[in-house]
């Protein structure tokens, strides 16, 4: 019985939250890795692109709610998602036209584009705060739980409860669908293949008649979609606060680099590695340990390796270790 309780507690406090968080990070890292593979720079504005997309989705959610439209047990935000994606796509295409294209024409060095993207980051950051404000916002209006802790205890008779929030289930299902769609697009369609060819060998892609501006535009649209989905899922799971999204940049970049920049598969793996490490290191293991260990080994302390305030140190440490020992990442991405 204790072993079962340990497993349930582990699932409840570590596996489920980390899986949902990992799916959100993976979607974010996919956007970063696509920009890196095709436009060849690290896009520091990605966290704020996620914030912008979430903001656009929230605004349209309010419109829908005002009109009395709801999505049944699912959050209304999912219904507003396509509109949010479209607005974000227009926004990133506009930044590309106004800002990035100028530097691309000059064949600017990647480090210059990184600095440029930081400028875009600050502007986007300001735009989002200006429009929706700096406060924490909760916009999840669907059913709160698929399985609640109390129901679970009643069904099983265990001491420990297992809660599965609907936002967590939605996160994982949506992430799987989006990733499957992305991989199908990249491997099976003519446009997707031309994007991979452009990422692989830009000069040869030009010789083959692939139009670089079209590839770049489609990349931005896909990245806008990925960023918006990632941002909305994160916001549904936790809450929406522009500053938190800016902070997400570090774990997202850590995920993309751990997996290997430019490798979509790597971005997914990296996202889950970072999420599981972060949750595992900052979780207080006392409860699980005391269920699992024999009585005389019981621990009195919290069994927490690092306070949650320091969770960013985890991504940072993993980032440093990977860059030291395997600079191209687990899936052999590109190195600058």
């Amino acid at each position: 019985m204790d072993a079962l309780n340990a497993l349930v507690a582990l699932a409840n406090f570590v596996v489920i939250p980390a899986t949902a968080y990992g799916a959100q990070l993976s979607l974010g890292a996919l956007g970063v890795t696509l920009i890196y593979g095709i436009l060849r720079f690290s896009n520091f504005a990605h966290g704020d692109t996620m914030a912008f997309g979430t903001m656009a989705t929230i605004l349209f959610t309010w419109v829908l709610q005002g009109a009395g439209i709801s999505f049944g047990p699912l959050p209304t935000a999912l219904l507003a998602l396509p509109v949010g994606i479209a607005i974000t796509a227009l926004y990133v295409l506009a930044t590309d036209r106004v800002v990035y294209r100028f530097y691309r024409k000059q064949r600017a060095a990647p480090v210059i584009l990184v600095i440029v993207s930081m400028g875009v980051m600050f502007v986007t950051n300001g735009v989002v705060r200006f429009i929706i404000g700096v406060d924490d916002r909760n916009f999840d209006d669907g059913t709160r739980f698929l399985i609640s802790a109390r129901d679970f205890r009643n069904w099983t008779g265990l001491d420990e409860g297992l809660a599965l929030r609907s936002s967590q289930a939605i996160t994982v299902v949506t992430a799987v669908l989006v990733v499957a769609l992305l991989f199908w697009f990249l491997t099976c369609t003519r446009t997707g293949k031309s994007m991979r060819a452009f990422s692989d060998n830009e000069d040869l892609a030009l010789l083959s008649g692939i139009n670089p501006e079209r590839v770049v535009a489609i990349t931005w649209i896909i990245v806008a979609a990925l960023a918006t989905v990632a941002g909305v899922l994160y916001g549904l799971d936790k809450s929406f606060k522009p500053f938190t999204y800016f902070q997400l940049l570090l774990p997202i970049f850590a995920a993309a680099i751990v997996g290997g920049l430019g490798s979509p598969l790597g971005a997914i793996a990296g996202g889950f590695i970072i999420a599981y490490s972060e949750v595992a290191v900052t979780y207080a293991w006392k409860k699980v340990a005391n269920y699992a260990l024999p009585e005389r080994f019981e621990i009195d302390g919290l069994g927490q390796l690092l306070s949650t305030d320091y969770k960013f140190a985890v991504s940072f440490a993993i980032l440093v270790i990977v860059l030291l020992f395997r600079p191209t990442g687990l899936f052999r991405g590109k190195s600058v």
Partner: protein, 264 residues
């Protein structure tokens, strides 16, 4: 072996292509491609080409040889529009294409195989060929089958990432990719660089086969002797000028050329 990669303009295939005079072909007089009195260099630097002329007749093989730094690759890049000319012109089947970008020249029927980085390493062989045909909107299955007939090993490896192949096989992928646009002129920058002598001979055989289908070939080669043996016309460049121009066979027998460039 299917007959031609470029069915839209049927061309007479020279029966014995070595030494076949261009005057025998219909539409004679107009070269398939000519870089006429080209002068130019990179950026704002000095001229690398000084009035150099390179011309290829339909269905023939032309080879550019010369010492290091003579401007061989530069001459080819100039013909393909990768550097801007200060003087001279480039004409494709009589049309002036001097002002066109390399991409526009691809659409006009020119194909170029760079010396390095000439395949998509992370993509499969078949995807490489598909990308070669990116400009085409019609059915590419026939052309692909022709490439596989020309390079049978690629058919076996078509699902394998091109980056995993050997040096000689990569060159076959590179040439195959270029053939997918059904070009009238195929340009190869040192196709045998870094491959073994046996693979080199095989590649030259394949290049002759491509020429037999009516495609004109312009090649820059380090292996001057072997390249001139298969050349209908050879250009020896020195300091960006035409030093010697003749049939490949004649150049090989020319005592001056032998002494200066072929090592006696």
């Amino acid at each position: 072996m299917a007959q031609t990669f470029a069915p839209e303009t049927p061309r007479t295939v020279a029966a014995d292509h070595v030494g076949a005079a261009s005057a025998e072909a219909p539409g004679a007089g107009i070269p398939a491609l000519i870089g006429d009195a080209m002068t130019g260099g990179y950026g704002g630097g000095g001229d690398i080409l000084n009035g150099c002329t390179i011309s290829i007749d339909p269905g023939q093989i032309a080879v550019i040889v010369g010492p290091n730094g003579a401007g061989k690759s530069t001459a080819m890049k100039a013909v393909f529009g990768m550097l801007s000319l200060r003087k001279g012109a480039v004409r494709l089947a009589g049309r002036d294409i001097t002002a066109l970008t390399p991409q526009a020249r691809v659409a006009q029927g020119m194909a170029f195989v760079p010396q390095t980085h000439n395949i998509f390493t992370s993509m499969t062989v078949e995807e490489n060929l598909e990308m070669g045909a990116f400009l085409r909107r019609d059915d590419i299955a026939d052309t692909m089958a022709q490439v596989y007939d020309l390079f049978p090993i690629l058919r076996d490896k078509r699902r394998q990432p091109a980056g995993e192949l050997s040096g000689g096989q990569r060159q076959q992928v590179a040439v195959g990719r270029a053939l997918m646009t059904r070009p009238t002129v195929l340009m190869l920058d040192e196709p045998t660089a870094g491959v073994s002598p046996i693979v080199m001979d095989e590649l030259f055989d394949r290049i002759i086969e491509v020429a037999r289908t009516g495609i004109s070939i312009l090649m820059v080669e380090q292996n001057a002797r072997q390249a001139l043996e298969i050349a209908d016309r050879g250009y020896v460049l020195v300091q960006g000028r035409n030093a010697f121009t003749d049939t490949g066979r004649a150049l090989l027998n020319d005592p001056d050329v032998r002494r200066s460039f072929l090592g006696g």
